[in-house]
Subunit: 399 residues, 2 copies
């Protein structure tokens, strides 16, 4: 294997022609690189009418170069996960056309008629089905890859198949360590430094974060997406697509649910200071909290139904157990969401929802609010027993 | 690979001569099969002075035959685990001389000067260091195979290396399912049937058992022995050796600690009805409870020291976190111990500690006592915060 970048557009075209039947043989194809430039290469290949996306991974992080190696195995994992997700939640992921280990690349459906959820949030686009779609996606993918559905041997082989150490290590550090100490990778706006230092000295918080880290590292419960932030979701008013599962591994269900709910709350924090009329921002904040309720309700209902319909695991399918299990998943969801809220505020990777607030003091108000919310969610997650209880905390927290 | 049984004694001798240097070339060797006949073949090969044990696994369960296939991979796992244990707890395991995948067999130190702990318990032998030895063995093996010690990549590769589905499935069924329903594999003494039926109808208990099962299936925390009952431990007054790790896999630390503590309590239950003067039986019961305290204290102290000395994992090594973690491990230990107590009383595999009570009514009294204790331990494990609290429950439970 050479693991080298496609040499030129012609190589990308050749890959698409060899591995998909999306274009006629004599159709002229146009190639455009559309990636964010961070980790991988993403190409859009356009024909007369249709188009295809090609994603290529190299054995290092693109933006840094060969100094930060990253296992090429992640592209195999991403391709397999997209196929698994498509089996159970076909409406919510792009179609995978072909994966080639030789080129460490795959071709998939172009979902260019969708927009990135992060920017839809920032621009306050109405997304009436978002929470429901996400809840269904989560229920289908997490149920069907867990012991609730898979036989013991398939499940355990899958755990081994999706072991993804280098990728998990990134999350272990960025979520559960950096923001809780004075780490050089952190990016802290000066007016927030004092609040950040408060977290570094907060022993109770650091213990709870480490408990969540232990779960992240040791709870091989379901095949989780592993990086389900708003930038991994593409939306139209009537459609939701989840992409980029290269961080997938067998982990706790609550990590995925918490990651996306954390991103909803981060946009909520940003709306305090983003441009636009106050009533419009207030309304969008109310919409965001409603979608947290909708996401969890859809997940809870669909997961419960799936167990009743499809689980022949006699102990885990006991209805009382399922409800206890889901109640535990919810509490851990709140905790993981809190870690996402905090790490996006003072850690390495910030988000435009808050960073695009131009006024540094106004931005700092959103950041401090996010830190306070995240702390509360992590430390008190066992007593935050429902989305309504979580929303009540967000509503009561002074801005 | 043929995976066939050693044809005759000469084949066993040839194996030992080829793979170990324990005997001189012209020394006459004598072979004796000493296994219990259940799953594998165990040979003692004796020379003029020394001796060696050979263990051979076949791709099925010996006592049943080819009708119950069992992956041959278990002998590779057992050999590797014995070597790993020997690295960290050399005093507490037999020396491994050689493993050969070709013959699916290994040769190890003969610990024939030790006796099986189950029979030492039944005969009430004094074992003043037992609890301490077990606690040290558990601390060394569990710490050094967990995220507290291993780097992220080594740990995750080890999880994959020790995936052991067929073996784990046996435990998943026998511990966490059979005893809680009217299963054909159960073995229930008629006077205990009513008490067993009580468990089958006990919804709260079944939910807690399923939570423990979820942990057993999903918590890949450390390389656990996986079958640490009294029959896997060999003892002298001054020495303790743990054998038979063929059920090893990456699981919860509390499963190992709970399994052995469950066996101590099972012998406690048996002592009510075993032969011998009451004061002798009372004294031995008091000794047993003391060894539970000693085992946990030694584990707790050594684990805490190991983290302080050797862990460079910055979050998990926070002293406050370690104490919280160990408190959680203790509660789960109580729960797993409860499942061991119950499954040995009404499940498939009984133990001589209770079964050797001849009088069926007297035996049933011990069995009912064990069931009541096991239930209490499982359901209330979160409020049983120390070995002393556990012992107080055993002492207060009417016989």
């Amino acid at each position: 294997m050479t693991y080298s970048k496609f040499e030129d557009d012609a190589a990308v075209v050749a890959f698409v022609r060899a591995h998909t039947d999306q274009f006629t043989a004599d159709e002229p194809l146009h190639v455009e690189e559309i990636g964010d430039g961070n980790i991988n290469y993403i190409y859009r290949v356009k024909g007369n009418e249709g188009s295809v996306i090609v994603k290529q991974a190299l054995p290092y992080i693109r933006i840094i170069g060969t100094d930060w190696p990253l296992s090429i195995d992640r592209i195999r994992i991403e391709a397999q996960v997209l196929q698994t997700e498509a089996m159970w939640a076909p409406n919510f992921v792009p179609k995978m056309y072909a994966f080639s280990a030789e080129e460490s690349a795959f071709a998939m459906e172009d979902i260019g008629d969708h927009e990135n959820l992060r920017f839809a949030f920032i621009e306050r686009h109405p997304l009436p089905s978002l929470g429901e779609h996400l809840g269904l996606f989560l229920a289908e993918t997490l149920f069907h890859t867990s012991d609730f559905y898979l036989d013991y041997e398939t499940k355990k082989r899958a755990v081994a198949n999706y072991i993804n150490p280098g990728i998990c290590k990134i999350t272990e550090d960025l979520f559960f360590w950096d923001p809780y100490c004075d780490h050089e990778r952190n990016s802290i706006s000066p007016p927030v430094l004092e609040a950040a230092q408060g977290l570094w000295n907060d022993k109770a918080l650091k213990i709870e974060v480490t408990k969540l880290k232990r779960q992240f590292m040791n709870c091989s419960e379901a095949l989780v997406h592993g990086d389900l932030h708003a930038g991994s979701v593409f939306v139209r008013a009537d459609s939701t697509k989840v992409i980029d599962p290269e961080f997938a591994f067998y982990g706790p269900m609550a990590f995925d649910i918490g990651s996306i709910i954390g991103n909803v709350l981060l946009n909520y924090a940003g709306q305090f200071g983003l441009a636009g009329p106050k009533n419009e921002r207030d309304d969008y904040q109310a919409f965001l909290l409603g979608e947290i309720v909708n996401c969890w309700s859809a997940f809870h209902k669909r997961f419960t139904d799936l167990v009743a319909e499809k689980s022949d695991e006699p102990t885990m399918s006991q209805p009382d157990y399922v409800q206890t299990f889901l109640a535990d998943v919810w509490c851990e969801t709140v905790g993981f969401a809190g870690t996402e809220v905090i790490r996006r505020t003072i850690g390495l990777a910030h988000i435009a929802d808050i960073d695009s607030i131009d006024d540094i003091e106004l931005r700092a108000k959103s950041e401090r609010w996010a830190l306070a919310l995240g702390r509360e969610m992590i430390v008190n997650r066992h007593s935050i027993s429902s989305p309504d209880a979580l929303n009540a905390i967000a509503l009561a927290l002074p801005y």
